[in-house]
Symmetry: C3
Subunit: 252 residues, 3 copies
């Protein structure tokens, strides 16, 4: 099936969808390594400041073509990659393969082909291990709602506090110009599901949280996993892909 | 009806509407005193430069709840207040009350409550007296039209001249790049009504005028009251509320 | 037909249309001379850097009134003129005439008249001669498509290469972050018509090209005329008006 020295050849029917996936990565990190195996594509990286991490997985079945000779690691400048992907037109397919030591991104339209060759860069850092935390409460919340909550808190502060209780999520923020307390009762418009083994309380950096939820597709839900004064795990689906973020707590 | 030491408790069914009212104030001044009495809410302030003034009045009947123990003055940072009000979601109600020396703003949704506490600040200035002028001509003009006229003049100048005559409003502006003369015949698309006791002629600062009309709701009309070389009075309704501006003339 | 010393009086029924025409000029040059004759209006100018040229022609029949006593040259600051024209409201007519050594632009609405008087400036340069080149290949391409192609190349470079072949247009760009090769097969979605006498290859400055195509009305086609390592001619229609651009090649 392979011609010559091509190590992998991957095709996805909706180029814009893949753009949305890479959007979820580039919000946090500007470069990183895509790990390709028969199972699919993985991506893990810490943000430069080291307080957050993103883990991404897309199964091979989500691609219309997924041919790979052997496990491969492709280091890319994500900002550059994302800008290129942003040129996707409606109805364009996307082909990605290696070509003479470069990463080839080809948009395939009805009467046109657009090939970008990007340098493959070396990323020194190894794949990170995901933190293992026993979370005490899980909240499934509408993506639009958590985006609004983050905006509310940003009016006053650069930090946000989350308290979970049996049947409510309480958000707080405090700054020179006032303070906010926002209460969401379980399983209403905003919250789809709450599973609180134990009440929790923790605070986080708003800017990082904002970046983490911003690529969540409209209409999707986001799962947030809390433990008192511990890191938060934030995850959601982008089609068949899953993106997981971790963010260190802000200890006041 | 009152619990403990709450001095006032005011509720409005459409939080976004109250945001639009405060918008009309914050365009001109960044802080000021809301005066609460059984009749309703009043607000009067001069802009920091002292060339303009805004007077606002909203009757108690426009609120779905208006409980007040005694006359109260609430000094607020308007920019901060407006930013908080901008977070209003559709279908949210708004509750405002005092709470331990702070001003509490609560947005009430179906399954959520969002409480902001803002500091009450001391404004040294007393309520201003509205200037008393015998205006000589009144023009009622579509809000969109006066906004366009102001934009036209801004292309050339930072000042705008208004001339009223029996049956026409003539606008002029002059700058290094040319001059404008714009004529509106009475009671057409732009002008709803003209009442000219005496022809008038006066010029004004464009930036202030632009700020004064910018909060006028789409579709509403604006009344302008002129006297030769005297200040202009500009007023319009925002629902049940009335906002009145005064702007000193620009003497060329 | 003429009253007093008016040298010309020109009327166009859709003021916004004339704004779109001047847009095509102001993208490249900030001042220039409109040349009025019985045949219509002509405008020719080089951009300040001297690497490009714009030629514009609108026949007198495109105007609803075109009265002119004798050939006249009207030098205008185009940026200023375009800003004034941008104030055009829907359904406004436009009258242009000379008035006491000034250029009068009058917008005529149902109940309003808006007159701008602009200074007539002296442009020292004479009308330029259009370059005479025997082009070897002509491509007629959808305006939206060439705008997209320019954007694609701008992701990587400030220059763009065009190769024409019997049945394809190949676009290329190269920069520090990668390279692009984009292939459009003849007469598909993007390309309406190709006439390739001889294969050609030439490169151009992206910024200038972008400015040249940006005023092309939505849905229109653009003609590009190529010759290897020679200048490109770019032309399209804006209603009855024709705009032609020339851009010097970029020799790598």
């Amino acid at each position: 099936m392979f011609y010559g020295d091509t190590l992998f050849e991957i095709k996805i029917d909706d180029a814009k969808y893949w753009k949305n996936c890479v959007d979820a990565l580039v919000r946090l990190v500007d470069e990183g390594t895509f790990s390709l195996s028969k199972e699919g594509i993985q991506f893990k990286a810490m943000d430069p400041s080291g307080i957050s991490m993103v883990c991404f997985e897309m199964p091979s079945k989500a691609f219309s073509k997924f041919e790979i000779e052997k496990q491969a690691n492709i280091g890319l400048n994500l900002e550059n990659f994302y800008r290129i992907l942003s040129s996707a037109r409606p109805d364009e397919q996307l082909l990605m393969k290696d070509s003479g030591g470069r990463f080839l991104v080809e948009f395939i339209g009805k009467n046109s082909r657009r090939r970008y060759k990007l340098p493959i860069i070396e990323i020194r850092k190894n794949l990170e291990n995901e933190p293992k935390v026993e979370f005490e409460s899980d909240v499934e919340i509408r993506g639009e709602s958590i985006k609004e909550i983050i905006k509310d808190a940003s009016l006053l502060s650069t930090y946000i506090g989350f308290k979970t209780d049996k049947n409510s999520l309480i958000v707080s923020a405090k700054g020179d110009f006032g303070e906010l307390e926002e209460e969401h009762l379980g399983e209403g418009d905003a919250i789809k599901k709450m599973d609180v083994k134990k009440s929790t309380e923790a605070s986080f950096n708003l800017e990082y949280l904002e970046r983490m939820v911003s690529a969540c597709p409209s209409g999707n839900h986001i799962k947030m996993h809390f433990k008192t004064d511990a890191l938060v795990k934030v995850d959601y689906k982008i089609g068949d892909a899953e993106v997981v973020y971790y963010l260190a707590p802000y200890i006041v």
